[in-house]
């Protein structure tokens, strides 16, 4: 009896959310685990970075300075050199993430946007196109 009630509630709740909303939540959850595995070592779980060694991803001008396409390519290819983040120069080395595929990128970027940027889904198709165009 209890089970039926619970299932009923879940169905009710799920049907209240649009399909898009469910996809968004799913991407955020998956994206968080990709972030924890590949990025949080340096950029920290809360995106605050590590002093002047690793730049922050939260509360930065990144989200205005860099397009989603560029973001995907930075993540895929890594970076070495001179980014200016919030006007501060960083000169460290960020490893490439060649193993992340379009679906991972969509989830990861959606998670990052949810946490620190605009709360919008980054679709699989967009990620796929962006990955193709990285130079």
């Amino acid at each position: 009896m209890k089970n039926i009630l619970a299932i009923g509630l879940i169905v009710l709740f799920a049907s209240c959310q649009s399909k898009e909303e469910i996809l968004y939540q799913q991407y955020v959850v998956e994206g968080r685990s990709i972030y924890e595995k590949n990025c949080s070592n340096c950029h920290q779980s809360d995106g605050s970075g590590l002093r002047d060694l690793y730049p922050p991803l939260a509360k930065t001008d990144l989200w205005k300075r860099v397009s989603q396409e560029q973001l995907v390519c930075i993540i895929k290819q890594g970076q070495k050199g001179n980014s200016q983040v919030n006007g501060k120069p960083y000169a460290g080395y960020m490893p490439a993430n060649a193993k992340l595929e379009a679906i991972d990128m969509a989830e990861l970027v959606t998670f990052m946007q949810d946490q620190w940027g605009n709360k919008k889904v980054y679709s699989f198709d967009e990620a796929k196109a962006a990955l193709k165009n990285c130079r």
Binding site: N41, Q44, L50, R51, D52, L53, Y54
Partner: protein, 209 residues
């Protein structure tokens, strides 16, 4: 209300027990021990970190003698390491900040990629972390000497299995060394809770004479 004498006695006894247990909290001496008989007395010789000398981020020599009378935490890393080293440095920063005004506690971070991690690379790295020698020395030098020291002297528990040589210097371990260069604890430097234990143990060592 009046407590019966017997209850008071029990209370006294229990609190005495608790106090005496706390006083006894000491850290083990890790690594191989030797016993030596001299003048009819048996002495235990504990494993000790041998003499060493490396260059730090300011191109200054740092040796075992600079550590005399200091408690220190040793670790092994390299600046371009993408995986566990950033986590270790995040944890070491907690220790560095906590003992900012205590000159008795030092950190020695040894590079295991000394060809790349020259003093000037280490200097940049330390600057970006906002840390300074001599409280936090980042060391570089002869690769073979660093590995030998790491595997034979610091990683004393890992070394018990003789077939498992190598690899351990890259295990993310923090090694706690006392004022006489005895190894007193080994901790997983990538885990916040383990580093909490390390901090508790530093406090115990600071009480030792």
């Amino acid at each position: 209300m009046q407590l019966k004498p017997i209850v008071l006695n029990v209370l006294f006894f229990v609190s005495f027990l608790i106090v005496s247990c706390q006083e006894k909290k000491t850290l083990p001496f890790l690594g191989p021990k030797e016993t030596r008989v001299s003048a009819g007395k048996v002495d235990t010789i504990y494993h000790q970190i041998p003499a060493f000398r490396f260059l730090n981020q300011d191109s200054v020599w740092v040796s075992d003698q600079d550590m005399a009378g200091k408690i220190y935490i040793a670790d092994f890393f390299f600046t371009s390491c993408p995986t566990i080293c950033p986590k270790m440095k995040t944890q070491l920063l907690r220790i560095y900040d906590r003992y900012a005004s205590n000159d008795a506690v030092r950190i020695l971070s040894h590079s295991i990629d000394p060809a790349f991690d020259t003093p000037s690379v280490l200097n940049q790295y330390a600057k970006r972390l906002h840390v300074k020698a001599p409280r936090w020395n980042m060391l570089t030098g002869d690769k073979a000497a660093i590995y030998k020291l790491g595997e034979k002297s610091y990683m004393v528990t890992a070394q018990e299995d003789k077939n498992e040589a190598g690899g351990f210097v890259h295990s993310g371990a923090f090694i706690l060394v006392d004022k006489n260069r005895h190894v007193r604890g080994i901790y997983d430097g990538t885990q916040e809770v383990e580093v909490n234990h390390l901090i508790e143990d530093i406090e115990i060592l600071l009480q030792e004479k």
